[in-house]
Structures are given as structure tokens and as C-alpha cells.
């Protein structure tokens, strides 16, 4: 008996395989793309070995690992085919609240490296372009990279803190360069505009712009991820091949939600929206999310994340009745103000649907409620950051400031 699992987030992409043989089991684990390490354990009898294997698998699934085959990931490579679909699991980035305080270490399962104009460009990593405290070379560096052979093979790009000493600067100029040089990036499948930690700039201060020119310029784009809500727009939300859209904000403007709701993304499988709080620009209500929850959009959706939401309890109450639950696999209400009230709604989730996973990381649940949620026949992440502030008076979303 054998089970192969994988895990990916902004920090790492790892595999974990286990194989049972008589009264032993062998675990092989490591970073995807490496051979990893092997540990063999012997038990008094085969039943004990199997019992221990099942326990380990449950633990791994609880931590967010998924079956490699279902995710389309092998232990030795991040995706089956360099030109093929990005595994769905590789779309996620910030899995834990604390991931926000760090720049991405991996993106679409590949290692992220800050672009260094002094070194030859490679195609097997994802480059991040960002300004430093003493210069802003994002555009010159990007232009240099676009002139290399590696650009022609590159699958993904990250734009980090682009603003240098001018936090009012939007990424518009960078997007123009990318759009103008679209022919230099024929394989571009994923782009992240705004890998910016809170020390570099507050999420709600980041000046964004209309990102939809990227959709138009890159027909092979599968994933568009961005951080920052101020000025964020998707003026022409249209793309035949886009499979993932992730918009992280401290407060989402209703116009962005409307753009998503009137979009034409027929192949969208992954939708992650950070809704935020009214103090940081959120001016939407649960009614604005109804077109998404009604299930008439995005026929191929497998993951729905409505995260960092100040009304997560209310949202949970509405989501349980969504027709989407009959076809998505993951529901993610993490990073928001989710209490036992919302959890009670989630306990009423219809079962025997396609739903496999519930991500409720960062929450205000009582221990008893966590136990009840864990008893659901789903993989439930009800974890909390180690330094969760659980004061009774004030409850915050994970990214408020």
C-alpha cells in the first residue's frame, strides 16, 4: 500500500510519500525536485504498521497536504509538463497568517529568487523584481531580463515592492513594459504583482492599478495574483485560459467584486478574494458576493477563498446554502473574523458533496467548536497562529493593520 502527498505554499513545495510493506512502513519526504530523505520504521505486526501509517496520513492531510496524483504533481517535478497546466495546489500562496510577513519563497511550486542583474538569468526559477532602499531598478532590471534567453522559457514572474521611495507609485509602468514585451514572454503562465511584506509597505497603502492589460497581453496566463487594494482594477475582466485569480487586499472595493462578477473567465478553477475591512477601503456587503455564491459563474471552480473577511460569520451562514458546494473541492474562509457563530453554520454544511476541504485557519473558535468541526467528514484546518489575540472586546481580520 502506497500514498503520495504534496504540499505547496509561499514558503515551500514538498512531497511526502509513504509505503507499507508487511510490518514496516517507509516514508520518503523532501523538497519537490529533490530525492528527499527516507525513514523506515518497523512495527511488531502489519496491523500496527498500517495503523501508524493511517495516523501519519491523517496528520499530513490536516496540515494541508493533498494527494499528488489528484494535484497533478510528482515528487520530482512541480508540474507534469512545462507548458501544461499548473497544479491547482500550486495556486495557493499564503496559507497561514504568518506567511504574510515574508516574501514568497516559492511560486507555482518553483523557487523564487531576487533578480540579480550581475548573474546570468535562469529559466528554472521564478524571478522577483523589486526596488531596494537605495535604488529603484525594477524597470531596468526587468528590461534586461526580457532581453535574455531565459525570458523566453520563463513560466512565472513576481513583482515585489516596486515603489522605491515613492509609495504613491503604482505598478502601471511595469505592466506597460510587460505588455509591450509580451513576445519576449511566450510561456508566461503566472504572474504576481505585489509580493510586498507589511514591513516593506502596509497592504492597504500599496497603490495598485488596472491589472487587466496583463490578461489581454498574455493568452497563456493561468494565474494572476496581486496584493494591495488601493486603486486595484480589472477593467476588462476577460481571459479564456485563466485558471486562477487571487486578489489580496486589506479592504476590497466593491468595483473589483463587480468586475469579478461580470467577468468572462470560463476556465477559472481557483478564486481567492481577500475582502478586508471598511477601515481599509472595503465598501462591499454580502449581497455583492451573491453572483459568485449563486453558482452561475465559473462552471469549473474547484477552490473558493473568501478570506480576511470582517463578516466571515455572516458569510459562513450564506455559503452553506450555495449551489457551489455541489461542485467545489475547497472552501476557504480563513484569516477573517470567524467565531463559533459562523462555525455553527458550517456544521450544517451539506455532506456527500464534492467538498473535501475547509480552510478556517485564523479564527476565534472555542476548543469545543474545534472538536466539532474536526468531526466533520472533511479535512478541516481550524488552526490559529501562535500569537492570536483573542480578546473578547475586539476581533480583527488577519490583515487589518
Amino acid at each position: 500500500m502506497k500514498r503520495e502527498l504534496v504540499y505547496m505554499d509561499a514558503k515551500s513545495s514538498k512531497f511526502w510519500n509513504i509505503e507499507l510493506a508487511d510490518n514496516t512502513h517507509t516514508v520518503t519526504y523532501g523538497r519537490i525536485g529533490t530525492e528527499g530523505q527516507t525513514l523506515t520504521k518497523t512495527f511488531p505486526d502489519p496491523a500496527a504498521a498500517q495503523k501508524d501509517m493511517e495516523k501519519l496520513i491523517r496528520e499530513k492531510l490536516g496540515k494541508g497536504y493533498v494527494d499528488a496524483a489528484a494535484a497533478g504533481v510528482g515528487p520530482m517535478k512541480a508540474s507534469a509538463d512545462p507548458d501544461g497546466p499548473i497544479p491547482l495546489i500550486a495556486f495557493s500562496s499564503i496559507n497561514r497568517r504568518d506567511d504574510i510577513s515574508q516574501n514568497a519563497g516559492t511560486f507555482i511550486g518553483k523557487r523564487v529568487v531576487d533578480y540579480d542583474p550581475e548573474k546570468p538569468a535562469r529559466a528554472d526559477v521564478v524571478y522577483r523584481f523589486r526596488s531596494d532602499w537605495d535604488n529603484n531598478e525594477v524597470i531596468p532590471n526587468l528590461e534586461q531580463f526580457l532581453g535574455t534567453d531565459a525570458a523566453a522559457e520563463t513560466a512565472a514572474l513576481i513583482i515585489g515592492a516596486w515603489h522605491g521611495d515613492d509609495p504613491e507609485l503604482t505598478p502601471e509602468g511595469i505592466i506597460e513594459v510587460l505588455v509591450k514585451s509580451r513576445d519576449r514572454l511566450p510561456m508566461l503562465a503566472a504572474i504576481y504583482i505585489g509580493d510586498i511584506t507589511s514591513e516593506e509597505n502596509e497592504m492597504s497603502w500599496i497603490k495598485q492599478c488596472d491589472l487587466s492589460p496583463l490578461l489581454k497581453a498574455f493568452p497563456k496566463l493561468q494565474l494572476l495574483r496581486s496584493r494591495g487594494g488601493d486603486g486595484l482594477k480589472l477593467a476588462s475582466p476577460e481571459h479564456v485560459n485563466l485558471r486562477g485569480l487571487a486578489l489580496e487586499t486589506g479592504g476590497m472595493d466593491v468595483s473589483v467584486i463587480r468586475s469579478v462578477c461580470t467577468s468572462n473567465f470560463p476556465n477559472l478553477e481557483y478564486l481567492e478574494l481577500w475582502l478586508g475591512t471598511d477601515e481599509y477601503g472595503a465598501n462591499h456587503s454580502i449581497a455583492d458576493l451573491q453572483p459568485i455564491l449563486s453558482g452561475r459563474l465559473f462552471p469549473r471552480l474547484k477552490y473558493l477563498g473568501l478570506r480576511n473577511c470582517q463578516f466571515a460569520d455572516e458569510l459562513a451562514g450564506v455559503v452553506v446554502n450555495s449551489p457551489l458546494l455541489s461542485r467545489i473541492e475547497t472552501l476557504d474562509l480563513s484569516l477573517g473574523v470567524l467565531t463559533d457563530e459562523g462555525a455553527r453554520s458550517l456544521l450544517m454544511l451539506p455532506l456527500n458533496t464534492t467538498l473535501k476541504k475547509l480552510n478556517l485557519h485564523y479564527n476565534y473558535f472555542t476548543a469545543d467548536m474545534v472538536r466539532q468541526l474536526k468531526a466533520l467528514p472533511l479535512t478541516v484546518d481550524a488552526s490559529k497562529p501562535s500569537n492570536m489575540d483573542e480578546g473578547d472586546e475586539w476581533r480583527f481580520v488577519a490583515v487589518g493593520e
Binding site: 515574508q102 531596494d132 509609495p167
Partner: protein, 370 residues
């Protein structure tokens, strides 16, 4: 490294100046005893402040001057000596009378210097290390990489004018004569927002606002709050340095505290935080050295140690100093600050020695050349 060591006897008797009840003094005395040397006598700051002649009764060959901190009575006496009120009405943990405290401390150090007893770290160096602007200038002179910095104005309206003239920016404002993170503020602003992040809170004393150190780092976002806080801090003297985002590892941003002893970077810790201040007493944690080395590589880490040594070498009359090194997004090291009393690194060992053992041994080795 140490200056003129010739007056030291071959078996020098070591004396201390400090607060005898403080763990710094006790731990150092215990360490020296464990090395098989006589337990060093300690003259208390309190005694020294009461009776300037106290030093004459100390029969030693070399002096280690330790921190006067963490003692309310010593603080009150230093403030009085520095020209402040005889009984400064300080709340517990209040950030006040920093200038007077520093003046008083310098007066005491002068008295020690006048005695002419050789010191492990020279009195002159110690007073400079307690002046962040003087340190900054010394580092610039010696081409030690530092964040750009200037003296902050002593009133809030002038600072606000400068902020508005720049449109937006990010600064660390640090009291010139503060210690640890006390009074340190991370300030950033745009034409639309402003934010001050600091381990302090505002308290009222008889209707008057006072600033008190707080173990949790708080964020103030209104101009009213920021004006109130900086209105109390700026007149006490501050340095304004560019706030350079620190390198982030899993678990938060990091900087390094490197203890340089006799010219060599020895004990070091990674200080990690989710806030702009990484001082360990603020509930922050020690980071993982292996993770740091994997991320930035051996050469960049070594460059950080070299820079710490270079910073310490700007104070050639001091045997040791704690140097804070920050690492920017391109993994280049910069000196955050240098600390005369930056050797409190309990339980940490390097080549099998604690920091105090290494310093104590260096005191003796330096005096008896092999």
C-alpha cells in the same frame, strides 16, 4: 584591540562598576570565579553617586564598567546629577529625562576616568556609544555601512514640515541617549496616511500625558496620537534614520546582534520579530541560524560579521561591544547600532564559552601576552 594595557599587572585584579543586585554583575562575578580568579569587587553606581570618593577605596588594576540600567534609584540620581529635578517624578517605565539621565551618566563616567584606572572599555568610548548621533558620525567617517541618518528636529511641527516636504517616507526615530528599544519609533507616511509603530503607550500623570515603555509594540495611525508621542520624545533628542526593511525569514523580520570581543565577532543571535523592533525583551524570538545561512549564503553572513568587527574597531579602546547588524533585501549588511553594554547574552556559547567567560578571559589574556 584594547588600548594601553601596560599598567595591567600580570595577574590583574578586576573590579566592576554596576548595580550589584543586577544579574549582569552577579553573572559576571560568578563567571570570573568559575575561571579560578578572585571574585571581582563591585562598586555600586548608587554608592558612586552618593560618594564620588568611593572609587578610591577600590583597589583594582582594571575596571569593567557595566550598565547603570534597571534601577529606579540610580536613574533618579543620574537625572539629578545631569541637571534634572532632584526627585524626577518618573512613572514605572516612563520614557523621560533622557538628556538629563545621559548627562548624569557622562558625569559619573568622567569621575571614573579621572581616577585613571585602566578600563576594559574606555570611559570615552562608552559615552560615545551612548550618543547615537556621535556613533553615526564616527561610522560614516570610517566608511562603516549605515542607514542614512540625520539629527531629528526637537519639535513636532518642524518634523511635520519635513515630512510634508518629502511627501512620503519612512524613518526610524531613536532617542539619542536611549537604551534597548525604549522610545524607538518606526514612522512612515504618505500624503494620505501615517503610522507610528513603537513599544510604548501614553499614560496620564495628574492630567499630563507621559510615555511609558510597553512590552507590546503598538501602531498609532492618527496624526493626533503621533503628534502627542513625538511631541514628548523629540525634545529629548532623537536621530532620524532611514527605515530599511529588514530581511524576513519564516516567523518574521530579523537582525543580528553580534558580540565583538578583542576584534573578533564571537557570540551572535538572530533576533526575529513581526514588528519593526527586534529587541528580544519585546516578546520576540531568537531566529534559526541555519535558515538564515541557507537563505543568504555563507559569504553574506560572513560579510555581516566582518562589518560588526569593523564597527567595533571604530572604538579601539574598547575590548568588546554588541553590534546590531541589519540585512537588507539584497543581503547587504548595515550597522543598526553599537552597544557598550550589549554583552548580556545569557546561555549562549561560542567555542564552548559564554559571552561573559569569553570577555573575562579576554581581559586576562590581553594583560598577559603569550
Amino acid at each position: 584591540m584594547n588600548g594601553d594595557l601596560s599598567p595591567w599587572a600580570s595577574n590583574p585584579r578586576l573590579g566592576l562598576i554596576g548595580n550589584p543586585a543586577n544579574r549582569r554583575v552577579r553573572d559576571f562575578q560568578d563567571t570570573v570565579e568559575r575561571l579560578g580568579r578572585p571574585r571581582p569587587a563591585c562598586v555600586a553606581y548608587e554608592e558612586l553617586l552618593r560618594d564620588p570618593e568611593a572609587l578610591t577605596r577600590l583597589d583594582v588594576d582594571v575596571l569593567r564598567i557595566d550598565s547603570p540600567g534597571e534601577d529606579e534609584r540610580v536613574a533618579t540620581a543620574l537625572i539629578a546629577l545631569g541637571g534634572g529635578p532632584p526627585r524626577a517624578p518618573l512613572e514605572l517605565g516612563e520614557i523621560g529625562f533622557l538628556k538629563e539621565y545621559h548627562q548624569g551618566f557622562c558625569r559619573v563616567i568622567e569621575r571614573i576616568e579621572q581616577r585613571g584606572i585602566p578600563c576594559v572599555n574606555s570611559p570615552r568610548d562608552i559615552t560615545i556609544m551612548f550618543d547615537k548621533w556621535a556613533c553615526h558620525q564616527r561610522f560614516v567617517e570610517h566608511a562603516v555601512a549605515r542607514p542614512p541618518a540625520e539629527l531629528a528636529p526637537e519639535d513636532f511641527p518642524s518634523l511635520l514640515d519635513r515630512m510634508r516636504a518629502h511627501g512620503s517616507g519612512r524613518l526610524f526615530l531613536k532617542p539619542l541617549h536611549g537604551s534597548s528599544a525604549s522610545g524607538v519609533c518606526a514612522l512612515r507616511w504618505t500624503p494620505h496616511h501615517q503610522q507610528l509603530i513603537a513599544p510604548l503607550r501614553v499614560q496620564s500623570r495628574g492630567g499630563e500625558p507621559v510615555l511609558v515603555n510597553s512590552l507590546d509594540v503598538r501602531t498609532y495611525s492618527t496624526l493626533t496620537d503621533i503628534e502627542l508621542i513625538l511631541g514628548l520624545l523629540l525634545p529629548q533628542g532623537m536621530i532620524a534614520e532611514q527605515w530599511i526593511p529588514k530581511l524576513a525569514l519564516p516567523g518574521g523580520a530579523v537582525d543580528l546582534r553580534v558580540l565583538v570581543i578583542a576584534g573578533e565577532a564571537r557570540h551572535w543571535v538572530i533576533r526575529q520579530s513581526r514588528h519593526p523592533m527586534t529587541n528580544l525583551h519585546l516578546g520576540n524570538q531568537r531566529g534559526d541560524a541555519a535558515v538564515l545561512q541557507e537563505l543568504i549564503g555563507f559569504h553574506k553572513l560572513d560579510a555581516a560579521f566582518k562589518l560588526a568587527e569593523k564597527a567595533a574597531a571604530c572604538f579601539p579602546d574598547s575590548l568588546y561591544a554588541g553590534v546590531d547588524i541589519l540585512i537588507d533585501s539584497r543581503h547587504r549588511p548595515l550597522v543598526g547600532e553599537i552597544n557598550a553594554f550589549g554583552d548580556l547574552l545569557p546561555r549562549l556559547t561560542h567555542r564552548g564559552e559564554t559571552a561573559y567567560a569569553a570577555i573575562a578571559k579576554a581581559c586576562y589574556v590581553q594583560s598577559c601576552p603569550v
